[in-house]
């Protein structure tokens, strides 16, 4: 693989120059993360910690959910805000075609463009999830039951959930490059709410425990499914297909 660093950094810089999209996505993530954390804290965590013998497993579940959703939002909102926009702009202005005429491999361009959208979202999501973990622990848990964190909680939020979105970012960019960026956008618009709703439903219905290994495994499973779709579609990503898609 050639050095894709310049493409990633340049794409991130250019995405961040669209100030409206950056500010909107940060505000959306912030409002949603604070809203979710407050809802869980006021409705479930505060009453539970106030009880004589708080149920630690339930507290772990709530904390896991807050971190998981916050992280998903960070990555998901970012993907939603930038993938379609940057792909459309770069295709219509001849930036993609110019890159294809360089010695770079198509795969390198695709991976770099996917990472350029995924990485800032990952950082935002993980920072917010980390802040939530620390803040909730120090406000609610440390005074009574001590610092609460499990390895599965950390793995689900900081590894498995972002992995789903990494695979989704690769899929969206693959479809957007080889076909129409709008199709990639439709995929993310459908999959983002579907994945969040599915996981929350499985937790609420006690099929999965958000603080256990089963939840981590379920997330890794979803990432694997999306990853397999990406691997199957990847041979379709050729210079010719991308160039011909520019005409449509």
């Amino acid at each position: 693989m050639t050095d894709i660093g310049p493409i990633i950094t340049t794409s991130i810089k250019n995405n961040f120059r669209i100030k409206v999209a950056v500010i909107t996505s940060i505000i959306v993530i912030l409002i949603c993360a604070i809203g979710i954390a407050l809802t869980f804290c006021l409705l479930f965590i505060a009453p539970e910690t106030a009880a004589k013998s708080p149920d630690i497993s339930r507290l772990e579940l709530y904390l896991s959910l807050i971190m998981y959703i916050t992280c998903l939002l960070g990555v998901g909102v970012n993907l939603n805000a930038f993938a379609f926009q940057s792909m459309t702009r770069e295709k219509s202005r001849g930036i993609i075609e110019s890159l294809l005429a360089t010695p770079l491999k198509v795969k390198d361009i695709w991976i770099a463009k996917s990472l350029a959208v995924f990485l800032p979202g990952l950082v935002l999501g993980e920072v917010f999830a980390f802040i939530a973990l620390i803040a909730i622990n120090y406000i609610y848990f440390v005074p009574s039951i001590g610092f609460l964190v499990t390895p599965w909680m950390v793995l689900s939020s900081f590894v498995a959930a972002p992995l789903i979105y990494l695979c989704l970012s690769l899929l969206v960019h693959l479809v957007g490059l080889a076909g129409k960026p709008a199709t990639g956008n439709v995929i993310i618009q459908i999959l983002l709410p579907v994945i969040i709703t599915l996981m929350i439903n499985l937790i609420v219905r006690n099929v999965l425990d958000a603080a256990s290994w089963t939840f981590t495994l379920a997330n890794l499973g979803i990432a694997a499914i999306v990853g397999i779709i990406v691997i199957v579609l990847q041979p379709r990503l050729t210079r010719e297909r991308i160039v011909l898609s520019l005409r449509s």
Partner: protein, 308 residues
């Protein structure tokens, strides 16, 4: 020694349409090669094949004797496509730096400064490309095409949409690149005047077929390009006109007032026509040989293939 560009019987089918119908031509090292043709003729498809953006359906295409799809070959080619592909939000320097990093150019800063000076944008180096005029953007895109010091430059209508003074600047840069930096330039253009001014060889493509190909000067001569205009002192009788028309080597094309316009066959000189007319008692005021312009060649070729 291999040619700079070699296209052998290349066909390209897109959907149900045969866009290129077995075209062949070569561009020698150091050439400024003009690639002409009307819209939809197949010029951009040819360029995309040369840049490895499209694959040939059949035939072969080489650059510097190498497969165009090799990364090593791409490093030897600079390009300017119909859309310049510049980042509007980045300065001229940043745009060039980006491509320097992609091509792994050493001493990038020096190279960028040299190129910006060459295209006359050194004063606007810190300005964003989005603030540039079309002509300045094309000059910047030309600089970008040369960041890695390529041996071959493939340019798709570099002066399209550029104002006349911008066209002169872009044209001068192309000439400097070809002559001072010893590069091969493949120039696709609609602008016949531009091609006539700077190209030494041309190919004319229409509906996916090469209609004309070769050195511009020899094409002008060989295409019956040279026209002889004889100004007469007074009108000639119809019988003499019929006689002149019956002599194919003279190639009498038309009579306009007191002028006779000949397109003589190879081997027939102006003096032959003058002697013949003088022998018939015709008084001649002036005789001039006029070279056919590229526009005339272009029009005559395209007229020949016009559907009836």
């Amino acid at each position: 020694m291999s040619s700079a560009i070699s296209i052998e019987s290349v066909k390209k089918v897109l959907g149900n349409r045969e866009v290129l119908k077995g075209i062949s031509f070569t561009v020698e090292k150091g050439d400024i090669f003009g690639y002409l043709g009307p819209n939809g003729a197949g010029k951009t498809t040819t360029i995309r094949i040369l840049l490895g953006l499209l694959q040939v359906s059949s035939g072969k295409a080489y650059i510097l004797g190498q497969d165009i799809n090799l990364s090593e070959t791409r490093r030897k080619v600079g390009f300017l496509l119909d859309l310049d592909g510049l980042y509007d939000n980045m300065t001229a320097e940043e745009n060039l730096e980006y491509y320097c990093r992609i091509y792994g150019v050493l001493k990038a800063k020096e190279r960028i400064d040299k190129l910006l000076e060459m295209v006359g944008l050194e004063d606007r180096a810190k300005d964003k490309a989005g603030t540039y005029s079309r002509g300045m953007r094309q000059r910047l895109a030309l600089a970008r095409a040369m960041v890695h010091d390529p041996e071959v430059l493939i340019l798709d209508e570099p002066t399209s949409g550029v104002d006349p003074s911008g066209q002169i600047e872009v044209r001068q840069i192309m000439l400097d690149v070809a002559h001072k930096e010893n590069k091969t330039v493949f120039l696709s253009s609609h602008n016949l005047d531009e091609v006539q001014r700077i190209c030494n060889r041309i190919a004319l493509i229409d509906r996916g077929e090469i209609k004309l190909y070769g050195e511009l000067e020899s094409l002008r001569r060989g295409m019956g390009g040279s026209v002889v205009v004889i100004e007469l002192a007074r009108d000639i009788p119809e019988s003499l006109l019929d006689e002149l028309k019956s002599l194919p080597h003279l190639g009498l094309q038309e009579k306009k007032d007191k002028s006779l316009i000949f397109s003589p066959q190879a081997g027939t000189e102006v003096s032959d026509i003058i002697s013949l007319l003088a022998g018939r008692g015709v008084k001649i005021e002036e005789a001039t040989r006029k070279e056919a312009s590229l526009e005339e060649i272009y029009s005559s070729i395209l007229k020949e293939v016009e559907p009836s």
